[in-house]
Amino acid sequence: MNKPVVATASLAGCFGCHMSLLDIDERLVELIDLVEFNKSPIDDIKKFTKDVDIGLIEGGCCNTENVEVLKEFRKKCKTLISLGECAIMGGLPALRNDITVSECLAEAYLDGPTTVNEHRILPNDEELPIILNKVYPCHEVVKMDYFLPGCPPSADLIWEALVALITGEEKEIPYALIKYD
């Protein structure tokens, strides 16, 4: 039997959720036995090479590239999971959501107290993604199937959830594992 395939990505996140995934310690070895990784920073596969069973998304959508990646994941993954506060509700990047994006850009590149930008150039290369007016939770952009809260979600929570998904057995999650911080 083929092993279930897992892909992961970090959108507007800090990679903390990925770190937490690594935090399952020696169970990593077990995980490698259980699943095969496809597109993910963990194995550095940059492009999907096949359809995927489980997609883990860290971070919300703060720019057009995030939306593109997320939509691609939705297409390729049977089950898509929001991993962590940023994916679920925008998280700390969404602190800017009540400030206009022009103000944010001005503060970052033009008028910030530590900014030196003599020619007042704003990054506008065509290669760069465009910043969105707000940071959007993933499930407001595509349909998400499951949510694992936490900043980051604890390694144990990620482990329990993955095992449950792979084995198809429903599990009672202990109280202490679900936290928003």
């Binding site: 929001s82 506060e85 679920i88 509700m89 925008g90 998280g91 700390l92 969404a94 602190l95 959501n97 009540d98 707000k134 939770p137 499930h139 407001e140 998400m144 499951y146 949510f147 694992l148 809260p149 900043c151 999650i173 109280y175 202490a176 679900i178 936290k179 928003y180 911080d181």
Partner: protein, 239 residues
């Protein structure tokens, strides 16, 4: 002495006295009913609606409804659980609750209830409403992003003449809680502390305080909200 009566919560019989509210009767019998805006010793506000129970097929707030002989109360039907979760989810999407950066995280009643009800993500769209942070007062900071408009501070924090430090402004979805600028200057350390204490979330903070307890040792890190009430109930049952 009020008369002893029996009531039924989720079909199980309990004894209480008729001067009690459903909430009080449940608590003394070790049955947990969630509350947020409720504040013993002040007039009930019944604004959060989270303590809603079903009495004879009618949704009523447990914090304000007196018990009656033979009353049949549903506290844990699917419908009630769904409503309670919805109330919490609305609160999380109405305000801007960034738990990872909040001083009250781990000690917050809103968060604790969401943990208890295992809310993974809200069904309602995030509003990302613009809310201000009022730091004009010398003693406290009011972060409106986190305010759930429970009215607890409005009801509890008053001066010796009974004048309110906090009040509602506007109505409907524009409703906010505001601190009186002038009276606010007379806020004592004790009252400031009390205001922070009375706030179930991290909306009222005493300056230069916060993050005092390390993660893992905070109020709701390991023990879910209501566990104390339920344990009392179990002990009582053993007796």
């Amino acid at each position: 002495m009020a008369d002893r009566i029996s009531i039924y919560i989720d079909k199980k019989e309990y004894f209480t006295t008729e001067d009690k509210t459903i909430l009080e009767a449940a608590q003394e019998n070790g049955v947990y009913i969630p509350t947020l805006c409720h504040l013993p010793e002040t007039e009930s506000s019944t604004s959060c609606r989270i303590c809603t129970v079903m009495v004879n097929g009618r949704p009523l707030t447990a914090c304000s409804t007196p018990v009656g002989e033979g009353m049949e109360i549903d506290n844990s039907t699917t419908q009630i659980t769904e409503w309670r979760k919805s109330v919490l989810e609305i609160m999380f999407t109405e305000g801007n609750h960034f738990c990872p950066s909040c001083e009250k995280s781990g000690n917050c009643r809103l968060q604790a209830l969401a943990y208890r009800y295992q809310i993974m993500a809200p069904q309602f769209p995030y509003q990302f409403n613009e809310r201000e942070i009022d730091a004009t007062n010398d003693k406290i900071i009011q972060d409106h992003n986190r305010c759930i408009i429970c009215k607890r501070c409005v009801r509890a924090i008053k001066d010796e003449h009974g004048r309110s430090f906090f009040a509602f402004i506007d109505r409907g979805h524009k409703l906010r809680v505001r601190l009186d600028r002038k009276l606010g200057k007379e806020l004592t350390d004790e009252l400031a502390e009390a205001a922070m204490e009375v706030c179930p979330v991290g909306s009222i903070l005493v300056r230069e305080k916060g993050f005092e307890t390390p993660i893992g040792q905070r109020k709701y890190d390991l023990e879910r909200i209501g566990a104390d009430i339920e344990q009392n109930g179990q002990m009582k049952n053993h007796e």
